[in-house]
C-alpha cells in the first residue's frame, strides 16, 4: 500500500527536471509542418490570379464556403470576377486545393485568423491573392 504512494512521489519528482512542453505562444512560434492547412492563398502567375473560374472548388467544398463568379477579360479568357471564402464556414479540409485543375489555390501556414467583426471573416479575392 505504501510503495505505490512512494512511486507516485518519485515520478512527480523526476518530472520536475524534465524540460517543460509549454510553448510561450506569442513570443515562441510553433514549428509548422509542411502540409499544414492554413489560410487559403490564390496563386499568381504573370501578374494575375491563375484561377479560371471553373467552379470545381465551390462544387467540392463540403462547407459551401466558396463563392465564385466568372467574368470575361479583354482576351475573352474566363477569370474569377469574384472569389470569396467565408472563413467562419470553412473547415480547412483542403478539398479546394485538391480539386483545382490549374493549381490556382493553395493553403498557407497562416493560422491566426481571429477578427473583430463578422464581415472581416469573408476573405475577398484581394485578401486571398498571393503577396509577392
Amino acid at each position: 500500500m505504501i510503495m505505490p504512494l512512494l512511486k507516485g512521489l518519485q515520478i512527480t519528482f523526476s518530472h520536475m527536471f524534465k524540460k517543460p512542453v509549454t510553448l510561450q505562444y506569442p513570443t515562441e512560434r510553433p514549428a509548422i509542418k509542411p502540409n499544414f492547412r492554413g489560410l487559403h492563398v490564390l496563386n499568381v502567375s504573370h501578374d494575375r490570379a491563375k484561377c479560371v473560374a471553373c467552379y470545381l472548388c465551390p462544387t467540392v467544398c463540403p462547407a459551401k464556403c466558396i463563392t465564385v463568379e466568372a467574368g470575361e477579360d479583354a482576351k475573352h479568357d474566363k477569370f474569377a470576377a469574384k472569389y470569396e471564402i467565408d472563413m467562419l464556414r470553412c473547415i480547412f479540409c483542403g478539398y479546394c486545393v485538391e480539386a483545382c485543375p490549374v493549381d490556382a489555390i493553395r493553403m498557407s501556414e497562416t493560422f491566426e485568423l481571429a477578427n473583430y467583426t463578422r464581415g472581416d471573416f469573408t476573405f475577398t479575392k484581394e485578401r486571398l491573392l498571393e503577396k509577392k
Binding site: L5, G8, L9, I11, T12, F13, H15, M16, K18, K19, P20, V21, T22, Q24
Partner: protein
C-alpha cells in the same frame, strides 16, 4: 538609551517589537510567495512552466493576484447570515497567524547587552540566564488549529448554499477524525521531551537528536493529519472543486476570498513550522549558519513536500478519509504511545 521601563531599556522593547514585525512580515511574504511557489512547482511537476508573464518568470504574480482580488466586487448573498458570513474569513485567517507567536524560530540574539530569544511569546530571564516561553505552547497551537476550522464551518453554514454547507460539514467531520490522531501522535513527543513548552522541546532536540528519528511513525502521521486538518490535498474535501464547486468558499469573492486563500497558505506555513519544531529539531542545525536560517530551510522544505504531495495524489473519497482517520491512524498512534511508554520504561528505569 538610559530610560528604563520595568528595568529594561527602551531599545530592548524596540527590539521585541521589531522581532514581532519581522516575523509577521516574513510569514506574510512566505504566504504570498507560497502561492507562486506552488504554481511553479506543480507546473514543473506536470512538465509545464507555471506563471511566466508577470515579471521575470512570473515573480510578480502574487502581487498581481493580490491587487486583482482587492479590486474585485464584494458580493454577499441575499439570504446569507451576514454577521457570520463576514466573520468567517477572519476566524479562518487569524488563528493561522497567531499560532506563530509560540514557535521558536531561532536561538537568542544580543541587543544592547540584553539577550532576546527569537520566539515571539518568550523572554530571556537575565538573572536565571534562561529562556521562558508559554509552558503549554503545543496546547496553544492545537487550540488555534481547531479554532481555524470554525472559520471554515461558519463560512459553509452562513453562505446559505448547499455546496458551502457540504464543504463546511465535511471540514468539521474531517477535523474531528484527524485532530485526534494528530494530538495522539504528538503525545509520543511529549513523553520523550517531558514538556509542552516549544522552547524546551527544541532544546531537547539539540545536537541532531531530532524526534523524527526517535518517532518516525508519529512524524508521518502528524504530518498527514496536519494536511487533513488544513484541508490540503489529498484531503481537500471541504473545497473539492470537482464535486462542490468551491466548497465553503463558493459564495465568497474579493478580499474575503483572498483571506480564505491566505488562511489556507498561512495554515500550511504554520503546520510546517510546527512539524519542524516538534520533529525536525526546530532551529538547530550545523553552527556555521544562524539558527533562523535552519528553521526557514526546514520549513521551506516541508512546504515543498506539501506541494509535492499535492502534485502527486488525487483526493481521497469521503469514506476512505474516515476509514484512514479512525481505523488506521488512530490505532497506530495509540500503539505508538504504548510502544513509546514501554521504551521509556525500559531505558530509564
Amino acid at each position: 538609551m538610559d530610560t528604563l521601563i520595568l528595568g529594561l531599556p527602551v531599545a530592548y522593547y524596540i527590539a521585541m517589537v521589531a522581532k514581532v514585525l519581522v516575523a509577521f512580515v516574513f510569514v506574510l511574504l512566505t504566504v504570498a510567495y507560497a502561492t507562486y511557489a506552488e504554481r511553479k512547482i506543480i507546473g514543473h511537476m506536470q512538465v509545464r512552466l507555471g506563471p511566466m508573464r508577470t515579471g521575470w518568470h512570473g515573480l510578480l504574480q502574487p502581487i498581481a493576484d493580490g491587487v486583482k482580488l482587492f479590486f474585485k466586487e464584494e458580493i454577499i448573498p441575499d439570504q446569507a447570515s451576514k454577521f457570520a458570513f463576514l466573520l468567517a474569513p477572519l476566524v479562518a485567517l487569524i488563528p493561522a497567524f497567531i499560532s506563530f507567536a509560540v514557535i521558536p524560530f531561532g536561538g537568542t540574539i544580543e541587543v544592547f547587552g540584553y539577550k532576546v530569544p527569537l520566539q515571539i511569546a518568550a523572554y530571556y530571564d537575565q538573572a536565571g540566564a534562561q529562556v521562558f516561553d508559554i509552558n503549554v505552547g503545543v496546547l496553544y497551537i492545537l487550540a488555534m488549529a481547531s479554532l481555524g476550522v470554525y472559520g471554515v464551518v461558519l463560512a459553509g453554514w452562513s453562505s446559505n448554499s448547499k455546496y458551502s454547507l457540504l464543504g463546511g460539514l465535511r471540514s468539521a467531520a474531517q477535523m474531528i477524525s484527524y485532530e485526534l490522531s494528530a494530538g495522539l501522535a504528538i503525545i509520543a513527543v511529549f513523553m520523550l521531551s517531558g514538556s509542552l513548552s516549544l522552547h524546551q522541546i527544541v532544546a531537547a532536540q539539540a545536537d541532531g537528536a531530532w524526534y523524527v528519528f526517535k518517532q518516525p511513525i508519529a512524524f508521518v502521521i502528524f504530518f498527514i493529519c496536519s494536511l487533513a486538518e488544513i484541508n490540503r490535498t489529498p484531503f481537500d474535501l471541504p473545497e473539492a472543486e470537482t464535486e462542490l464547486v468551491s466548497g465553503f468558499i463558493t459564495e465568497y469573492s474579493s478580499m474575503k476570498y483572498a483571506m480564505f486563500f491566505m488562511a489556507e497558505y498561512a495554515n500550511m506555513v504554520t503546520v510546517c513550522a510546527v512539524t519542524t519544531t516538534l520533529f525536525l529539531g526546530g532551529w538547530h542545525g550545523p553552527a556555521f549558519l544562524p539558527g533562523w536560517f535552519w528553521f526557514v530551510a526546514k520549513v521551506y522544505f516541508l512546504i515543498f513536500v506539501c506541494m509535492w504531495i499535492r502534485a502527486t495524489y488525487p483526493r481521497y473519497r469521503y469514506d476512505q478519509l474516515m476509514h484512514l482517520g479512525w481505523k488506521v491512524f488512530l490505532p497506530i498512534t495509540l500503539l505508538n504511545i504504548v510502544g513509546t511508554g514501554i521504551w521509556i520504561a525500559v531505558t530509564q528505569f
